[in-house]
């Protein structure tokens, strides 16, 4: 890789051992992908919940902090494994809770912003068209690229920390024009009616197009979807397909026309078609093993204020069935607003819990299942229905309203 004078100084250790460590590792990644040089990034976003990081990762982060590591750009954090207020109630392992506190302390020492959210783009940090970022969490990356027109690869936890310490990342993948052009055409012949429907579209396309280097181009979307709808579409595309970019023709900024979405080239004749029947098939593909779900989860990605408001309206004056655990997850910003507006009180009165700064599948989900007897999990998130299946759950994906009805009735339909 071609290095600037500043980068050569970093490599020599002039900026300290942590910066040298970071740049050295980044060069190995850049070399793998044939990056010619580094690109400066405005901010970094790190995924480092304790369940993922574990002891060796924790030692690594603490060692970096102890050696004087300092972020030279903003470093925001993804959700954690623990909401300290609910750790006891959900029987989370006290050792996990203590380690989580150590991760946060080490990141603070480096100058990070521990906001613990996977919806930075709806709260603390919005992507700007054309800027370069080093964001982790697949959902924030695909939203930044597709909706914001900013440029980021998937930066895993260590990689995002390296970027925060050097202020740059290797220039490859989604930092380059050539990578951002559409590769697959998808005709939407159905009007998604809810955020779950958009998640179902993402699931369907992601199951068929599942390669980081592919970019689906969706046509047939008449009106701009809401930010929450785009959030669920992106999160599902990223989760099922490991995708980092999509275009909605006439809506997202690099796809004003079909031709522009394909980088000025003739769009491919072959296309995937998504119909109403396909969406039903997505829901039907998640079969409950038993009629009463053990746990119902709203919020992967974390809930926006509007989503919390919608759930408050649906749960108002109703009671969650005995034996069913209902969890909502959001960030500190929206939790505070929800408290203030009375949404939290309405939701908790039904028996549901509102968790802050976490995401269900990051909460040591296998252990959580063992300690609470969770097996059948119902959610309105296509992404969660995918991710948590790897932790031994029987996952069921249904639209938001159906999940609320199931919470009250203690019974989920289908299968």
């Amino acid at each position: 890789m071609r290095l600037t004078k500043e980068e050569r100084e970093m490599l020599r250790g002039d900026r300290g051992p942590a910066c040298r460590e970071a740049l050295t590792r980044q060069m190995a990644v850049g070399g793998f992908f044939g990056a010619k040089d580094f690109v400066r990034v405005r901010s970094a976003h790190v995924h480092c919940d304790m369940e993922a990081v574990d002891d060796p990762g924790l030692d690594y982060i603490e060692a970096l902090a102890a050696s004087g590591a300092q972020c030279v750009i903003p470093l925001t954090t993804d959700p954690r494994s623990v909401d300290f207020a609910f750790a006891g109630e959900l029987k989370q392992d006290p050792a996990l809770v203590r380690k989580e506190q150590r991760v946060v302390a080490a990141l603070l020492k480096m100058g990070a912003v521990p906001c613990n959210t996977c919806i930075t783009y709806q709260s603390v940090d919005q992507p700007v068209f054309g800027e370069h970022l080093a964001w982790g969490d697949t959902g924030v990356v695909i939203y930044a690229n597709a909706v914001g027109g900013a440029r980021s690869n998937y930066e895993g936890g260590p990689s995002a920390i390296w970027a925060a310490l050097t202020g740059r990342t290797p220039r490859y993948g989604y930092h380059l024009d050539a990578c951002r052009r559409g590769t697959v055409r998808v005709d939407l012949q159905v009007k998604p009616r809810s955020v779950s429907d958009w998640g179902a579209v993402g699931c369907l396309v992601g199951r068929r197009v599942n390669d980081y280097w592919q970019v689906p181009v969706l046509t047939g979307v008449a009106n701009s979807p809401t930010p929450d709808a785009l959030k669920h579409l992106g999160a599902a595309l990223a989760s099922y397909g490991s995708l980092a970019m999509f275009h909605l023709v006439g809506i997202t900024p690099e796809a004003r026309t079909l031709t522009e979405a394909f980088g000025g080239k003739t769009p491919p004749r072959n296309r995937l078609v998504v119909t109403a029947r396909h969406l039903h098939q997505v829901y039907d593909s998640f079969v409950p093993e038993k009629s009463q779900p053990d746990v119902i989860v709203f919020g992967t990605p974390q809930l926006s204020l509007y989503e919390i408001r919608e759930l408050a309206a649906l749960f108002k004056g109703r009671r969650v069935k005995e034996g069913v655990t209902v969890l909502l997850t959001t960030n500190r910003f929206f939790k505070d607003m929800a408290d203030q507006l009375g949404y939290t009180a309405t939701i908790t009165a039904s028996g549901a819990k509102v968790l802050t700064g976490v995401c269900f599948y990051l909460m040591a989900a296998r252990e959580l299942a063992r300690r609470n007897g969770f097996r059948t999990l119902l959610t309105d998130s296509a992404k969660l229905a995918n991710t948590v299946a790897g932790y031994g759950y029987n996952t069921v994906f249904r639209p938001t309203a159906a999940c609320v009805e199931a919470a009250v009735a203690g019974r989920v339909l289908g299968g």
Partner: protein, 152 residues
């Protein structure tokens, strides 16, 4: 058998094939291959404590990946996997190397952190060419993978 571009020779009574690709990360290792026709995510598919594929719908469900040279179509899903290879190295449950048809950046970043050899974009296609049980030597620096297959 169409092994385009592959070098085939007999050695020790076995069959030898060579795959080539861009420079990977990590050092030279060898081990027994475990080949999947599915993608792979450490977080979504794997029980790290036991080094076993734990997703019920995965074609390697229940199989141990400890010390294997793993072959998958692609890296799936989330960024969390980038921490997890290091964790598995510490637990002694890590694979010896990973070969993908194509990978996303996350597993590469994780492999760099954990010093686990990783390569992709090999010719011929490792998923089609390598068989479970083959003995595989991985040389990321030279962009070279050699398979030794015992006669059946």
């Amino acid at each position: 058998m169409p092994h385009h571009g592959a070098t085939r020779r007999r050695r020790h009574g076995g069959e030898r094939l060579v795959l080539r690709g861009p420079r990977g990360v990590g050092g030279v290792v060898e081990g027994e291959a475990l080949v999947s026709r599915h993608g792979f995510s450490v977080r979504y598919d794997c029980d790290r404590a036991r080094g076993i594929i734990s997703r019920e719908s995965h074609d390697l469900y229940g199989r141990s990946i400890v010390d294997k040279v793993l072959v998958f179509t692609t890296a799936k899903g989330g960024v969390a996997s980038s921490w997890m290879l290091k964790d598995m190295r510490a637990r002694g449950t890590a694979p010896r190397a990973i070969l993908f048809r194509t990978t996303n950046p996350v597993l590469v970043q994780g492999a760099v952190l954990a010093d686990v050899p990783l390569m992709h974009r090999l010719t011929p296609d490792p998923v089609e060419t390598i068989r479970t049980g083959d003995w595989v030597q991985v040389d990321p620096g030279r962009g070279r993978v050699e398979i030794t297959r015992r006669p059946r």
